[in-house]
């Protein structure tokens, strides 16, 4: 009984067959770039030290993809180029209200950053005595609203964040936990830099809770809406 479909050909013969087909196609083209590229690609496949379908070219392609994602233009933030569920790991479901968070253009982030810079450059140098609030607690309260949008922007560029929704409670809580561990245990104990003060952890959490309220409830206020959100939604539609 004859076998159905195509006859089975050993892998080595199949590869040779494909290479022969590529080279035959290259010679059939009269002249020009196509012929040159086809011949070049066949030679590259044949001369590659690890052979066709190896790990090396795939890993190099992935590395190039990640670098391009990190260095691409702000237009890459559009959901059309980062559809929900595409290599995100599906850590969370894309929000229906996605596109409302402006990351570095977010008003809460910008205001917190201005307060931090003003405190660092103007208030602290002008104080004659140590102030626990201005020298310590204020910076800790501003950690989440200043640092988290930058981190989330990187995650979004990498494709690990499925949408542009405002920071979720668990994103704030997870980063607050990591930063508390890093700045209040790892820094003082291992790196011998920083102070292990548990009040600072309360400031981290308080600043995160306040920022969460602004980010999630403040979206109902017109003056707190990110200006970039309207542009993004216009480009999407």
């Amino acid at each position: 009984m004859p076998a159905r479909g195509y006859p089975k050909i050993p892998r080595e013969q199949r590869d040779e067959s494909n290479l022969g087909r590529i080279e035959a196609r290259a010679t059939s083209v009269p002249a020009g770039v196509c012929k040159e590229r086809a011949t070049k690609s066949s030679v590259q496949i044949r001369r590659h030290p690890l052979g066709p379908g190896s790990f090396g070219p795939g890993a190099a392609s992935l590395a190039r993809h990640v670098a391009l994602q990190l260095c691409s233009s702000p237009g890459s933030l559009l959901r059309a180029k980062n559809p929900s569920g595409a290599a995100t790991g599906n850590f969370c479901i894309a929000s229906k209200e996605a596109g409302s968070f402006g990351y570095w253009r977010d008003p809460v982030f910008l205001l917190s950053f201005v307060i931090y810079a003003f405190n660092r450059e103007v208030i602290k140098p002008s104080l004659s005595a140590y102030s626990p609030f201005f020298h310590g607690h204020l910076d800790d309260c501003l950690l989440v609203p200043v640092a988290l949008p930058v981190f989330l922007l990187v995650y979004r560029r990498l494709g690990l964040r499925p949408d542009d929704a405002p920071p979720r409670w668990w994103e704030i809580a997870l980063h607050t936990a990591v930063w508390s561990f890093f700045y209040k245990w790892f820094g003082p104990m291992v790196l011998h830099h920083g102070v292990a003060d548990m009040v600072d952890v309360v400031c981290f959490a308080g600043g995160g809770a306040g920022a969460w309220m602004f980010w999630n409830w403040g979206s109902k206020l017109k003056w707190l809406r990110a200006p970039a959100a309207a542009v993004t939604m216009t480009e999407l539609s």
């Binding site: 795939g58 890993a59 992935l62 590395a63 993809h65 990640v66 990190l70 569920g85 595409a86 290599a87 790991g89 599906n90 910076d139 640092a147 930058v150 981190f151 990187v154 995650y155 990498l158 494709g159 690990l160 990591v178 930063w179 890093f182 700045y183 820094g187 790196l191 830099h193 920083g194």
Partner: protein, 34 residues
Amino acid sequence: MPDGGAGYWLMLGLKMIAAMGFMAVADLIMLYAC
């Protein structure tokens, strides 16, 4: 998952490593500079 192939998991792992690397570097910068 949209794709359960090896390329998908390799890409996801690479992205996770990149994210954790960024977090480590950024935390160290904030620890020593801020």
